[in-house]
């Protein structure tokens, strides 16, 4: 395969179990839940993850994962199917975050496999989850008052 965007499809992001429970599950409607709590803003698990990753990148908050993680929450192929632009952006932003202290050949070789890119995305998403978690502590209705976090989107 000569395309990292194809290689990454079989990979799954890693999410700390606490964030899966307190953010992803809480604010996403599973398919089976359709017709359940319609106040849940997100329809699928990848959506809060993508939001967290974007927040992490934009706030330059990279936090290594610790504690229990869920290794197979969903596959990147789901993001690619639903929102290919988001997957492209995450990968390109992750490339931008490769360590500039390493020489260029070394950095380039990190593209051999998607592991390093996936890891970067995971860690920035983890940083984003920290931000969301803090927001939720300050305001439990953060995701219900939809315009609040959409407003945040513009502010960040």
């Amino acid at each position: 395969m000569n395309n990292i965007l194809d290689e990454i499809l079989a990979y799954s992001p890693k999410v700390e179990a606490k964030y899966k429970e307190s953010i992803i599950e809480k604010f996403s409607q599973k398919q089976v839940e359709k017709g359940g709590d319609s106040r849940k803003f997100f329809n699928m698990y990848w959506q809060p993850f993508a939001w967290a990753a974007m927040l992490g990148f934009k706030n330059d908050r990279r936090t290594p994962l610790s504690g229990k993680t869920d290794p197979d929450i969903f596959k990147y192929s789901v993001i690619n199917n639903q929102a290919p632009d988001i997957l492209r952006a995450l990968v390109v932003m992750a490339v931008g975050k490769l360590d500039d202290n390493e020489n260029i050949e070394f950095q380039l070789k990190r593209l051999k496999k998607p592991d390093e890119i996936v890891n970067i995305i995971n860690e920035y998403a983890n940083g984003g989850f920290e931000i969301i978690s803090r927001k939720l502590n300050e305001d439990p209705d953060y995701f219900y008052e939809h315009n609040k976090f959409i407003t945040d989107l513009f502010e960040n």
């Binding site: 395309n3 329809n43 990968v91 975050k97 950095q107 070789k109 989107l153």
Partner: protein, 717 residues
């Protein structure tokens, strides 16, 4: 006269006790639909006149069949068996010489736990109207019921004129119908001494008839033609009886006609209400369907919002991060291009190519120097080593290049996303703006529709409360009643016309007979005392008639002038109102609003007509006050519904300036902003309205009903 204090207890929408003070000048009570304005008007009226307003019937006395209409529903609902409830209205009234307390009250007891809204389940313990005041000697006088009523009528506010001083906007047409001169003429009679003159003229006529009878008795004795005299005398008496009887019939038919006109006007109002009700129902259905559509659109946008947010919007603001990523990818690509053939020796690894070297070894000839060589020779060794090196290195290079190529392909693949991605991001802001603009527009439309729907529902409820739930069922019935009464009106008008013609004929005949009688010669020329008295009486009658006519003319001139003064004050200060002048036709008493150049071909709209009527009524009341040297509190409920905001305020300003005290109940000074009805207090202060009250419903958070809510009065300025 001013009303200085009011206490209302368990009266209609007022639960328990409500106290408030009233001042001289304008007292403005503002309240939205259904807040309790008309109930407050009812409270004043009931306290003074012991009557309740019932739609389609007018003012009715309160008795054992309808006394519960006085009581607050919540108070009734909360009462247990044997509980006693008092409903009362108490007003303190100050006139030029006394301070009165006027109190009307009913106390009832619940006698069983059955339907609390039925009179049969309650017993009246006591009720009555009391007027209390200190007399000149300082003793407290208490007058009750009929005595109290008569006292109010004679000394405080005559009931006959109260209908022009205390009126509801909806009855304005009954008071002054500008196309029917009789209403204006009646009004002038009520507020002036004209009626007093008319009564005196009637009295004089009666005395004249009696004296003429006496005179005829004396003249009979002295006549030269007794037979003819007797015949004519009998004829005259017969004609007088007929005239009297005919007049009685005319008066009765007039009363009948007035009643029929009132019935027609009431049915007309009901039919208008029914038509309005049907219209409102259609509007309601249309609005509900529109609202449903807007809700669906909003729901659809909400769903889209979640998807659009996750699929696109979150990319907002990532340009720099992406550019950094693409910059790095460009660096990779550049490095690759620079290093794909990198040879540390500076010589190409494949020159000569391994195939060329192999051919040299096979042919044992160096193609570079042209020398032949043998296997095992130095040449052979060098070429063989060169071949081995090139073959190995090339493999190594090939492998390395393969890896770099693969990586470069990945870099190229990622770089190929650049234009699409950055283009998407550049459009996101515009896209989000458009999305939220649409969202905002839909939500504003939703709010507008909800508010319109609420207003229409309120109007429907008000009409249902007024006419009951089965309004449309009664449409056919009402229409046939209306037609029947129109026919009746026609019939009575025709009878009246005949009666009037007959009266004219009889009076003419009477005049001739009297003349004939006077022409019968007498035995002796003698002047009877009755003839002298008759001369004086006729002179007196003449004076009364002249005074009445002059008074009437003067009053109409004054009313017209005053009405135009008021109109001018309103139109001068409000450039958006078309100017004009009010003209009262001196023959028909019809009222017209004409252009300042006297062009009377105008087709005035409802607002102009209402303004004209109010100018006339105010002028009449003010002139009556001045004329009789009295001042009455002017109370009006919803008079300005058909006027614009500026005209309404200017009209209130005139009331404020002209009347010693006025009490106005209105819903017209609210402005709709921030999704609710608000009072523009600054604007009211600009007009120097210093006594402004807000009437509002309290008691339930939603779905207000008569039995779970009540009216509250709060002074806001």
């Amino acid at each position: 006269m001013i009303i200085s204090k009011a206490r209302i207890k368990n009266f209609q929408s007022y639960y328990e006790i409500t106290d408030f003070n009233l001042e001289k000048g304008l007292n403005l009570f503002l309240g939205p639909i259904g807040a309790g304005k008309s109930k407050l008007f009812n409270a004043f009226y009931w306290c003074f006149y012991d009557e309740m307003y019932k739609t389609d019937y007018g003012w009715l006395p309160v008795d054992s069949r309808n006394f519960l209409s006085i009581f607050n529903k919540k108070a009734l609902l909360e009462a247990d068996v044997n509980d006693i409830i008092e409903s009362c209205v108490e007003l303190t009234v100050i006139t030029e010489d006394k301070t009165y307390s006027i109190k009307n009250q009913i106390t009832i007891k619940r006698i069983n736990s059955e339907d609390y809204t039925s009179e049969k389940n309650w017993k009246i313990l006591n009720n009555g109207l009391i007027v209390s005041f200190d007399n000149e000697d300082g003793n407290r006088i208490n007058l009750e019921n009929l005595e109290a009523k008569n006292y109010i009528d004679k000394k405080i506010l005559p009931k006959q004129i109260s209908k022009y001083i205390w009126f509801q906007g909806e009855t304005l047409n009954e008071l002054i119908d500008i196309k029917n001169g009789t209403t204006f003429k009646n009004a002038i009679n009520y507020i002036s001494y004209i009626e007093y003159y008319e009564n005196n003229i009637k009295l004089i006529n009666d005395v004249i008839r009696r004296i003429e009878k006496e005179l005829r008795k004396k003249q009979r004795k002295n006549t030269l033609n007794e037979n003819e005299f007797n015949r004519l005398s009998h004829e005259i008496e017969r004609l007088e009886r007929e005239i009297e009887s005919n007049q009685y019939q005319i008066d009765n038919k007039k009363i009948e006609l007035t009643k029929i006109k009132k019935t027609i006007s009431d049915i007309d109002k009901r039919l208008n209400d029914i038509n309005e009700y049907i219209d409102l129902k259609h509007k309601k259905e249309k609005l509900e369907s529109e609202l449903k559509h807007v809700f669906e659109k909003i729901e659809e946008l909400d769903k889209n919002k979640s998807n659009e947010f996750s699929k696109k919007w979150i990319l907002y603001g990532t340009n720099k991060l992406l550019e950094k990523g693409y910059k790095k990818l460009n660096k990779f690509q550049k490095w690759y291009e620079e290093n794909q053939n990198n040879n540390p020796t500076g010589l190409p690894y494949d020159i000569p190519s391994p195939a060329y070297l192999k051919e040299m070894l096979d042919k044992k000839e160096c193609f570079v120097c042209g020398n032949k060589f043998n296997e095992g020779s130095e040449h052979y060794r060098i070429i063989k080593e060169r071949l081995d090196y090139a073959t190995g290195k090339l493999e190594e290079i090939k492998n390395k290049n393969k890896e770099l190529l693969s990586l470069n392909n990945k870099v190229t693949a990622l770089l190929s996303t650049k234009n699409i991605l950055l283009n998407t991001i550049n459009n996101i802001e515009e896209y989000i703006k458009t999305f939220f603009q649409k969202y905002k527009e839909l939500n504003e439309r939703k709010k507008r529709l909800i508010e319109e729907l609420k207003n229409i529902k309120d109007e429907i409820t008000a009409l249902q409360e007024k006419h009951g739930n089965k309004m449309t069922d009664s449409f056919t019935n009402e229409k046939s009643k209306y037609n029947y009464n129109l026919d009746e009106k026609e019939r009575i008008n025709s009878i009246l016309k005949n009666l009037n013609n007959e009266q004219f004929r009889l009076e003419n005949e009477l005049m001739h007979k009297k003349k004939d009688l006077n022409n019968i010669p007498q035995n002796t020329s003698k002047e009877y005392q009755e003839e002298k008295i008759l001369k004086y009486l006729l002179a007196l009658k003449n004076i009364y008639e002249k005074t009445r006519d002059e008074e009437f003319k003067k009053l109409i001139d004054k009313v017209e002038k005053k009405a135009n003064d008021i109109l001018y004050k309103i139109t001068r200060a409000n450039p958006n109102v078309i100017t004009g002048k009010i003209v009262i036709d001196r023959d028909t008493f019809k009222i017209k609003l004409v252009d300042l150049d006297d062009n009377d071909n105008r087709d005035p709209n409802t607002g102009h007509t209402v303004l004209t009527k109010m100018c006339i009524i105010n002028a009449m009341v003010l002139i009556s006050n001045e004329y009789k040297n009295k001042s009455y509190s002017f109370i009006t409920d919803a008079p300005t519904s058909d006027l614009d905001d500026g005209t309404t305020k200017l009209y209130y300003k005139i009331i404020n300036d002209e009347f010693e005290q006025s009490i106005v109940l209105t819903k017209d000074l609210f402005v709709y902003k921030n999704n609710k009805n608000e009072i523009d207090i600054d604007s009211l202060k600009q007009f120097n309205f210093n006594n402004v009250f807000l009437i509002k419903k309290e008691g339930a958070n939603e779905n207000l009903t008569e039995s779970n809510s009540y009216s509250k009065i709060e002074k806001i300025i």
